[in-house]
Amino acid sequence: MKLVIAVVKPFKLDEVREALTAIGVQGLMVSEVKGYGRQSGHTEIYRGAEYVVNFVPKIKLELVIPDAQVEQVVDTIGKTARTGKIGDGKIFVANVEQAVRVRTDERDEDAL
């Protein structure tokens, strides 16, 4: 199984979730993060003082999926979240060794 971590623009959340549901993803976790990246660095003025905006609000998705689904999921997120403008975000994939569904104690791919 793989853990997919995707950072996307906040307003893309709904679209991405729908696209993932459409390809059979059944669960995921969402949280807000402040993102630092190439998009950062523009300046704003607050009470007359110029400052650099380092952090931009982003949505982080985390989902664990069977190995077989990785490519499709990464592609789907990538395509849906893409606007072509700087700050579209990243997708990372890491390995997951175990998964448990708390309710039933089912294990691994059955738990997803």
Binding site: P10, F11, L13, D14, R17, V30, S31, E32, E44, I45, Y46, P57, I59
Partner: protein, 451 residues
Amino acid sequence: MKWNKHLLTAAIAAAVVAAPATGFAQDADPIEAAVAAASAETAYIMNTLLFLIGGFLVMWMAAGFAMLEAGLVRSKNVAMQCTKNILLFSIASAMFYVVGYNVMYPGDDGWVVLDYVGSFAGIYETQAVGGGSADDGYSVASDFFFQLMFCATTASIVSGTVAERVKLWPFLIFVAFLTGFIYPIEASWEWGGGWLDDMGFSDFAGSTLVHAAGGSAALAGAILLGSRIGKFKDGRVQPMPGSSLPLATLGTFILWLGWFGFNGGSQLAMGTIGDASDVSRIFVNTNAAAAAGAIAAAVLTQLLYGKVDLTMVLNGALAGLVSITAEPLAPPVWMSLGIGAVGGVIVVFTVPLLDSLRVDDVVGAIPVHLFAGIWGTLIVPLSNGDASYVVQAIGTFAICAFVFVTSLVIWGILAVTIGIRAREEDELAGLDNAEIGMEAYPEFSKTAMTS
């Protein structure tokens, strides 16, 4: 506000003359005159005080609108909403002074078009320091202060409907027109002694003159702006829950409180026992209508949806208040409860109705102010024998139509020139960022789950 300015002055002057005559011998004894003068002085002070207290309570409603709307928009637009609300009040304060007051109260010969359009000639001139005479019946400055607040209220109503997508400066320019011209002109028809007043139209504190007017201007804006991105997706209505229901609740309580000034102050006098009693009666009726509107919305949402909808209860209370505003004096309390309850019912049914018409009213201002305002105005004859259903309908229609059309024109001109709607990406990122450059709640993690 059943009387307009000059009528009031006349009436009080008459009272001052008449009063002593009743209880006294007929000769114009200097002592009698002294008693009468003292009475007239007291009346002047009390009337002025009513305007001042009423005025600051209505001013407080500007804060109520700000909090209600700040609570009902999403967090990414809250700072923008606060900015709009404090600036619209400021602009109304300036415009009503510079041009509005004299447009609204042309007096007998200040009309440009008799009984239809007042004079744009001048600013409001204050009396001199220490000035004022018992014959005026009240301080004109206190009346100006009071009337100004009504003008600002009209603008506050618009702010909520067009939220989350309108650009700041075009909105403020619209407010300048609304408070400098549109509102004063239509208000002059009734409170300035214009054609609706002549016809016998009755709108005590402004269910139509203020609230339905504000709602009409809001409707025009909502139509031209279009709905927020994602609000009506794939034929379904997408709720976009407000960021802070306690702020919305606070706003509603503020408005409820302010409304005692709105309706009570519109008695325009409390220098006699009769007037003081009537102001009291108005307070009681106003409170009853608000309570009934809230209860009706609570019961109805429970029955229809299985749960009480707090935002509907808040809207319901306000709709009750708007409903009773056209005639808060005449009805007995039980009738006020009924009138307010219908207001609450109207809200519960017309909020989804507007949605189904794809009109995106962020805070429910159109149901509350326009629809309940119409209801309140049309039902006046039920308790007030001097009013007629036909005239009420004519007046309501005339004002709503006038405000709607002129607003549509102004919004339209703004739309094709400087543009009224924020860019898509700005709307998505939130207007706080794009228009104000600061966040309302910069430290809190937010995950806007619009679906």
